[in-house]
């Protein structure tokens, strides 16, 4: 690290004994650059700020988050207002994205649908990482028969074909007759997490195994730290980087998977109208009124792309070796 201001100060000292830069007292009045501690995360953040892809992705995601939280800021139209005389009308100045079969404003429905699509993605990947992360840490730290048992259970789950597993689980829940929007989201999230946790478990498990052999874990043990403290305080932060990257990309793909499940009629449904539900509703009219499909599908693609881009940028920043 070279800092011209320090260099000139040392020259000014006029031949006096000068200690190495890192021992120097922080000089008052100077911007506190040499004194700033640099953690992995602050280094990554500095790196990320300079990446255009990251900035674009973050802007898109922030925008979508605002839309999800405050849809009424973006449209004054009621997404559930039906006017059958306007059925399948193409985009116009009045309704930017046109009207669907029921004569509902597609733009308003896309805006209100953001909430459900994002919710499925965020909650799904959080739950997946939580389940997979906890199990992976335990398996990696304790090893032995516990590792064997947990890994086998994970393999059973990852052996299930994803869509088939989703259909079975969601069909089983479907008959219980829940129909509040949040309960519907909860079901889909649960199904997604149940079928994908083994991947994040394996990522954390291998990170935990390599962290466990590090001297700092031995040192923590030698200084009297309890196993739980070692696992969650010392190993977890060191295992987080790879799974964080995975979670970001997972978030995007969960949004897409939710659309798939909804398209198949087993994901979300009214009142939780996500983009997937809209795509599903449009399936019989694709040739007559393509705008029914194009707008929700386009926004969906853009969102997934933003998350994948974010994941890529985060991975590059956290793991420069992979670049």
């Amino acid at each position: 690290m070279t800092d011209p201001t320090i260099a000139t100060q040392q020259a000014d000292a006029g031949g006096a004994y000068v200690t190495a830069l890192e021992h120097a007292e922080p000089t008052t009045g100077q911007p506190g650059r040499p004194g700033k501690p640099r953690s992995l995360w602050s280094d990554a953040w500095r790196d990320l700020r300079r990446r255009p892809l990251f900035i674009i992705a973050v802007v898109v995601i922030l925008f979508l988050t605002v839309v999800a939280l405050f849809p009424q800021w973006f449209t004054s139209v009621d997404p559930n207002h039906r006017d059958l005389t306007r059925s399948r009308q193409p985009p116009s100045g009045d309704a930017w994205f046109g009207y669907d079969v029921q004569g509902q404003d597609i733009y308003a429905r896309v805006v209100y649908g953001t909430r459900w699509s994002l919710l499925v993605g965020v909650a799904g990947s959080l739950l997946t990482v939580l389940i997979g992360g906890t199990i992976g840490l335990l398996a990696g730290y304790f090893g032995g028969w516990l590792d064997g048992l947990l890994s086998r259970v994970g393999e059973v789950f990852s052996g299930l074909p994803f869509v088939l597993g989703g259909i079975v689980i969601l069909n089983a829940f479907r008959s219980t007759g829940v129909d509040s929007a949040l309960a519907l989201v909860g079901m889909v999230v649960l199904a997604l997490a149940l079928l994908t946790w083994p991947i994040s478990m394996r990522i954390i498990r291998s990170a935990a195994i390599s962290a466990k052999q590090q001297d700092y874990v031995k040192a923590a043990r030698a200084l009297g730290a309890s196993p739980w403290r070692i696992i969650f305080r010392h190993m977890l932060p060191n295992c987080l980087a790879p799974v964080l990257v995975y979670a970001t990309i997972l978030l995007g793909s969960f949004i897409a998977i939710e659309a798939t499940l909804s398209f198949l009629g087993i994901g979300l449904r009214d009142p939780a109208v996500s983009w997937g539900v809209m795509i599903s509703d449009s399936r019989n009219y694709i040739r007559v009124a393509p705008h029914l499909l194009l707008f929700p599908a386009g926004i969906l693609t853009l969102t997934v792309l933003a998350f994948v881009m974010l994941g890529d940028a985060v991975r590059d920043a956290l793991d420069p070796k992979l670049r």
Binding site: T19, E22, H23, P37, Q214, A219, A222, L223, G224, P237
Partner: protein, 347 residues
């Protein structure tokens, strides 16, 4: 610097069993095996040593002689699936660490015994600041507040002579130089005022000038705090200045045990003698440096008889079959060599 006090030389040998005046740490007849894919590696084959408060014991030996494994067994941080403690006892103030509960053992770590690792970069957690890692113990174990712990951490860094400690506590290990990291590691192990400090090759990862500084620091802290210090090293030069007593290890056994002065002046085991001869010396400039021929034995197949016999210049027939016992050489010295008495020149 002259060899430090010889306080440890008088009271060697007899004090076993009785708890009140038990030595600070006593390792007795420790056997440790590693179960590997290729068979059972007999890593420790009856190691015994002891350390008193305020005393420095140097454990000397080549790589693979079992010095670090002994230390890890004492700390209870052996990786237990491959390693198995077969028999023996490790008594800390008369309390057998191999028999006490896990909870008691955790309690003793840090406060009773602490350890300094060889490579401080990997022994410090990269995601936390150095300060945090010192404070963590103070907060969790002593229930200090965040503010008090920070103050104490700065004091500790100051104690190990890290300049500008107040700013340094907030930095991450990768921002420290090698010597600094080792100092921080020492500060960390001293945080809970341990009675015994084990330093496992604390200077091997450092360059020579820094080595000397770290050794001086350790010695000074030890004298100041009247700690017992076990110094594990393969560097005879490092040992000469700070050790009161020296235990030389070979193939999982202590082959010679003596006070530092006698050992250097008059080694009682051919292995020790060979080690000393293989040191480069200024007064023998120009002559070829002596080495010990051959390699240390594989721990999977330790030779019968004296384990050193294939490399020993004095080996005779009986060395190949008869395992040498401890030969007492007076003043608490012992040597596991059939010819120890001849070697020392005292019958």
């Amino acid at each position: 610097m002259a060899v430090q006090s010889m306080s440890g030389t008088g009271d060697l040998g007899e004090g076993t069993g009785v708890v009140p005046d038990a030595p600070l740490l006593e390792v007795e007849d420790l056997f440790v095996e590693f179960h590997t894919r290729d068979g059972v590696a007999k890593v420790l084959n009856g190691v015994s040593y002891h350390v008193d408060a305020g005393e420095t014991l140097a454990v000397l030996g080549e790589s693979g002689s079992g010095k670090s494994v002994t230390a890890q067994a004492i700390m209870g941080i052996l990786d237990v699936p491959p390693a198995v403690v077969r028999s023996g006892a490790i008594r800390f103030r008369g309390e057998d660490l191999l028999k006490v509960s896990d909870g008691r053992r955790t309690e003793l770590r840090g406060q009773g015994l602490a350890m300094v690792f060889q490579d401080a970069l990997s022994a410090l957690n990269p995601v936390f600041t150095v300060g945090f890692q010192i404070e963590e113990q103070l907060r969790v174990r002593l229930g200090m507040s965040r503010k008090d712990a920070r103050k104490r951490a700065v004091e500790l860094l100051d104690l190990v002579r890290i300049p500008n400690a107040a700013r340094r506590v907030r930095q991450y290990p990768h921002e420290f130089s090698g010597g600094m990291r080792q100092r921080a590691m020492i500060a960390m192990s001293l945080a809970l005022d341990p009675e015994l400090l084990i330093a496992d090759e604390p200077t091997t990862a450092l360059d020579v000038t820094v080595q000397a500084q770290i050794m001086d620091l350790l010695k000074e802290l030890q004298v100041e705090r009247k700690m017992g210090l076990i110094l594990i090293t393969h560097d005879l030069g490092v040992v000469a200045e700070v050790a009161d007593r020296i235990a030389v290890m070979y193939a999982g056994k202590i082959v010679e045990h003596a006070d530092a002065v006698s050992l250097y002046r008059n080694p009682g085991h051919p292995y020790t003698a060979a080690l000393l001869e293989s040191l480069p010396r200024l007064d023998l400039k120009g002559t070829e440096l002596k080495t010990i021929r051959g390699l240390p034995p594989s721990l999977l197949a330790i030779p019968p008889g004296c384990p050193f016999h294939p490399r020993c210049p004095m080996a005779e027939d009986r060395c190949r079959t008869e395992v040498p016992g401890d030969h007492r050489l007076g003043l608490g010295r012992t040597s596991k060599c059939h010819f120890a008495e001849e070697l020392v020149g005292r019958v």
